[in-house]
Symmetry: C2
Subunit: 202 residues, 2 copies
């Protein structure tokens, strides 16, 4: 596809770098912005840049946050003795949307993936281990997508967590189809899988 303008070409090229956006869709979006008020484009560009450059992470759970402590960790009404371990911020949003969970979170920032060169030290596992005694945590729910990498990560964590024999370890109930991504589950299934979580044998 050739464009009559380098400006258009650059905009289309940048949009088409986003996952799931092809060049035809990118052109459609570009021409939409071109027809709309200039304000629409400046708001979008500013929101993206601001998000990327000003974002911070909660020092306790590594959730995204506009402050040092995220709104979930800061909420005294939540059960701080129960920590739900997830790989990704998306999973926090998905579980929060079920309205079924009242504990707190720990965001690993990924899963162990030898292919992508992601090892345990690349994930927020150390902060989880130091957090357990400091915060008197009684239960840890491993809510990691049951993919191959997810299962590897959960297995690795289970073994690490053996140093805390008083902490109950559970995994979300297998309402989630095997090989399925957590974030695609409907809210009812995901909600149930939290409520009916299965406690792990030690």
């Amino acid at each position: 596809m050739e464009f009559p303008s380098k400006l258009i070409e650059n905009a289309v090229g940048e949009l088409a770098k986003l996952p799931g956006i092809g060049r035809k869709t990118a052109l459609r979006l570009t021409l939409h912005l071109l027809k709309a008020e200039t304000e629409a484009t400046s708001s979008l560009a500013e929101a993206l840049a601001k998000m990327r450059f000003e974002i911070t992470y909660c020092q306790t759970c590594h959730n995204i946050s506009d402050t040092e402590e995220c709104s979930i960790c800061a909420n005294k009404l939540r059960d701080h003795s129960m920590v739900c371990v997830v790989s990704d911020i998306r999973d926090v949003i998905a579980i929060e949307n079920t309205g079924q969970y009242k504990g707190v979170y720990h965001v690993l920032g990924g899963v162990i993936s030898p292919i992508e060169g992601i090892g345990p030290s690349d994930l927020h596992i150390d902060t989880l281990l130091t957090r357990i005694p400091e915060s008197e945590i009684k239960e840890i729910i491993l809510a990691i997508s049951p993919t191959m990498e997810g299962d590897t990560t959960a297995f690795f964590l289970s073994r690490k967590l053996r140093e805390f024999p008083d902490v109950h370890i559970s995994t979300i109930a297998r309402g989630i189809p095997m090989g399925g991504e957590l974030e695609y589950a409907d809210e009812i299934t995901l909600g149930r899988s939290i409520v009916e979580r299965t406690r792990q044998a030690k």
Copy 2:
């Protein structure tokens, strides 16, 4: 969907304003940018803002252009006696991609739509009419999508063009399915519809 950060919420909200982008897709794009290098976001934001604020239009044909005259109008090898009238820049790109057309263009900037309050005076029709005698145009191809609004626009133009009895008026061949949008046509169909254009009876 609730977000743990206003910055994320704004970015998702702005992306979700784009046509065909839902909130779930917007969140996916936002988290993709968050994981990627900061440079990816700044390049995207800058490309969009630059495109929107620096874009200019060809003074002859109203095609998008980085200069006063677009690369098609400036090309001496093209047949300047043949003008293809289209509603949109997308149509110029689509026809150029067929490689079948060697004339020049005139971009109306829309179609007559009483529902959306777009009348003939909102389109670049006047500049087309002044262009015909000035540029010694011999043929005008009406390449407007055969939708109801497109047909209305083509009919309006046909009548206006009666003041130039020496100019041949043709419409693109009905290879395009009725009610179909020009830009969705495959290149072969669109290319043929240009080559086999039907000359209008006066």
